[in-house]
């Protein structure tokens, strides 16, 4: 039988039972749509995590003191070992793979200005910090090395702090705020960065010169951490080795001893976060695939019913000269048509559903051509796979038995 006639016959027999065809198709439509929507959500979250991490700077390294062990009991990280400014200076001067570097001290402060107050964290850093984090001023300016050296009481604030102290969108530069009762001059506001990958508001922050925070606010001699940026992403391992060597030497640790500090690279976090969202994508897609599989079983079910119902028709066709393969092809084409048309509608519904999810839930979604092709091919394969058994059953019927079937 010619393909054109086969297709026409398939369309005719599918349209004889429109409701049944539609319901069978619905299984595939929902399956394909959910695969596409789930892949879109997975891909979207992966991309947004990657974007946020590269926004932080992928060649960023942070050095923390490790948790020390006293008599087998691990103490809180940084509780006994402290990094000092001299550690920082050694790292800054002796590591060629390090480009920018800054010591970091962190405290929290109660902010008061123009009758409002707000509690947030206060970071003391050198101006290199702005280069490491790719920060620039939206309003006013950033503070300078000279202001740090002389421990000026100046600071830059994030947009969230501005919002609660001066109102949304206000220019805070030149305003005076009191942090823990110490008056500071706001010199500028950093460009908004939004939430980071872990949901923290990166704009809820006060950044002040390192010396000012360490000596005037905290009056301590240690530093919380050191942040550096490697000269390039690919020299991160070299930078890590150099820093380890310098700090071990300074802390009088042998080469075989465990370091008493931890170096965390943004690239590690990026890899971990991407892997996590990758696992999430696979998980979502496999759950969605199950519904596609169930849709396929629906096709098989309905095709089996159809073969039984149409035994007589098969007998007539064989009686007038249809070969087994003609009958096989006829039923296979019907199954394939259900899954193909279901697949097309499913792709449409999937794109629509992704759009609705994106606008209602404000989730990042990305539909890739690969995900469309994948689910489309998958649904076609399901049509062939689940259509094969009923079609073969029909083709193997004995003409005389099929004709006598009541």
């Amino acid at each position: 039988m010619k393909l054109k006639n086969q297709l026409r016959a398939a369309v005719r027999s599918l349209s004889k039972n429109k409701m049944r065809t539609f319901l069978t198709m619905l299984g595939i439509i929902i399956g394909v749509a959910s695969v596409i929507a789930m892949l879109a959500i997975g891909q979207g979250s992966k991309e947004s995590i990657q974007a946020q991490i590269s926004n932080l700077g992928t060649n960023l390294l942070t050095i923390y003191p490790s948790a020390s062990m006293t008599g087998g009991v691990r103490m809180e990280a940084g509780s006994s070992v402290r990094l000092t400014l001299d550690d920082y200076k050694a790292v800054a001067s002796r590591c060629p793979a390090v480009m920018y570097s800054t010591p970091v001290v962190r405290t929290s402060g109660q902010l008061i200005a123009s009758g409002q107050n707000w509690r947030t964290s206060v970071w003391g850093v050198l101006p290199d910090y702005f280069s490491i984090r790719n920060l620039d001023a939206q309003f006013g300016a950033l503070f300078t090395s000279a202001e740090d050296r002389t421990a000026q009481k100046v600071c830059v604030i994030g947009a969230t702090v501005t919002k609660y102290l001066f109102g949304e969108g206000a220019d805070p530069s030149g305003k005076l705020i009191r942090i823990n009762k110490i008056p500071f001059m706001v010199v500028g506001q950093i460009s908004p960065k939004g939430q980071n990958a872990w949901g923290q508001d990166q704009d809820d922050i006060v950044i002040a010169p390192f010396t000012t925070v360490q000596q005037r606010m905290m009056t301590v001699t240690y530093i919380n951490s050191i942040m550096v940026s490697a000269t390039a992403e690919k020299v991160i391992p070299e930078a890590t080795d150099e820093i380890t060597q310098v700090l071990k030497e300074r802390h009088h640790l042998g080469a075989s001893e465990d370091p008493d500090f931890t170096i965390r690279s943004q690239a590690d976090i990026a890899t971990a976060a991407t892997a996590t969202s990758g696992i999430l994508t696979v998980l979502l897609a496999s759950i969605a695939s199950i519904s596609l599989l169930v849709g396929g079983i629906g096709i098989m079910n309905i095709m089996l019913v159809s073969v039984t119902e149409r035994t007589r028709e098969i007998g007539i066709r064989m009686g007038v000269g249809a070969r087994g393969r003609d009958v096989l092809l006829q039923f296979l084409i019907e199954a394939l048509m259900i899954s193909l048309i279901g697949g097309i509608f499913g792709v449409g519904l999937g794109i629509l559903a992704s759009g609705i999810i994106a606008s209602l839930m404000h989730w990042p979604v990305t539909i890739t051509v690969q995900s469309i092709l994948l689910s489309f091919l998958f649904s076609t394969a399901i049509g062939i796979f689940f259509g094969w058994y009923p079609a073969r059953k029909a083709a193997n019927l004995n003409p005389i038995d099929a004709l006598r079937y009541e």
Binding site: K16, I316, M318, G319, V320, G321, R323, P399, I400
Partner: protein, 251 residues
């Protein structure tokens, strides 16, 4: 060149039903010549339908040899049997066996669909010609349930004719029809036979057998009698005498 269309030698068919063996055919030797019009008669269980199904390549014999139009059927596989049914045999059934919800024209086209050498236009033309020869050209777009029993059987005959078969096999073609319609169907067979088409019918009605020119009677899987009909009844003459039925019954 012999003019034997169908030749069987000692055809045996045994159905196994559990431990029970049913001997449907116990050795049938028969030759059917070109332009024969044969009626195969016998009580139910005599093996006449089994014989018909085997000759029609719908079933295979347990033992014995037979050939159709010079082709030794015993040597053919399933696909070749299908090809043979398609090209050389036209089948007409007692219960019409038309595809439901499919127009008369498309039902007649069905055998041609399985003949890949025929174009769509040829298909249409041949189907219309076949419908015309059974007098149903004006009903070509009717669905089977919109046709009377007689008309449905005529569509089935058109379908059997459409591939220009060497033989038309009809299994109780008038079994579901009333008297007048039966005579109409026999008239069509007589017309076809007159233009040289070989026709074999199975019937248990002596009246119907009277329209053919050779009667073969089966009993218990063997041929009991094989007689030539000296003066066959003429269906077209009898139709003139039968009262016309305004509305035909739909079966």
């Amino acid at each position: 060149m012999s003019d034997i269309i169908i030749s069987t030698q000692h055809l045996v068919k045994i159905y196994k039903m559990g431990d029970l063996e049913v001997h449907a055919l116990r050795g049938i030797d028969m030759d059917i010549r070109k332009s024969d019009f044969v009626a195969i008669m016998g009580k139910s269980g005599s093996g006449k339908s089994t014989f018909m199904n085997i000759v029609g390549c719908l079933d295979v014999p347990t033992r014995g040899k037979y050939s159709i139009d010079g082709v030794d059927v015993g040597k053919l596989d399933k696909d070749q049997l299908a090809q043979l049914r398609n090209k050389k045999i036209g089948f007409v059934f007692q219960s019409f066996n038309l595809l439901s919800r499919t127009s008369a024209l498309e039902n007649v086209e069905l055998p041609l669909m399985y003949n890949s050498k025929i174009s769509s236009q040829e298909m249409r033309a041949k189907a219309l010609k076949a419908l015309d020869s059974v007098g149903l050209l004006d009903r070509s777009h009717h669905l089977p349930n919109q046709l009377s029993g007689g008309e449905q059987q005529r569509v089935a005959i058109a379908r059997a004719l459409v591939n220009d078969p060497v033989v038309i096999l009809a299994d109780e073609p008038t079994g579901n029809l009333d008297t007048r319609t039966s005579v109409e169907v026999m008239d069509i067979f007589q017309q076809l036979n007159k233009i040289g088409i070989t026709v074999v019918i199975v019937t248990h009605e002596p009246d119907i057998a009277g329209y053919t020119n050779r009667n073969v009677t089966f009993r218990d899987g063997r041929i009991l009698k094989d007689v030539k009909v000296e003066r066959p009844r003429v269906a077209s003459d009898e139709l003139l005498l039968l009262p016309a039925i305004v509305e035909e019954e739909t079966i």
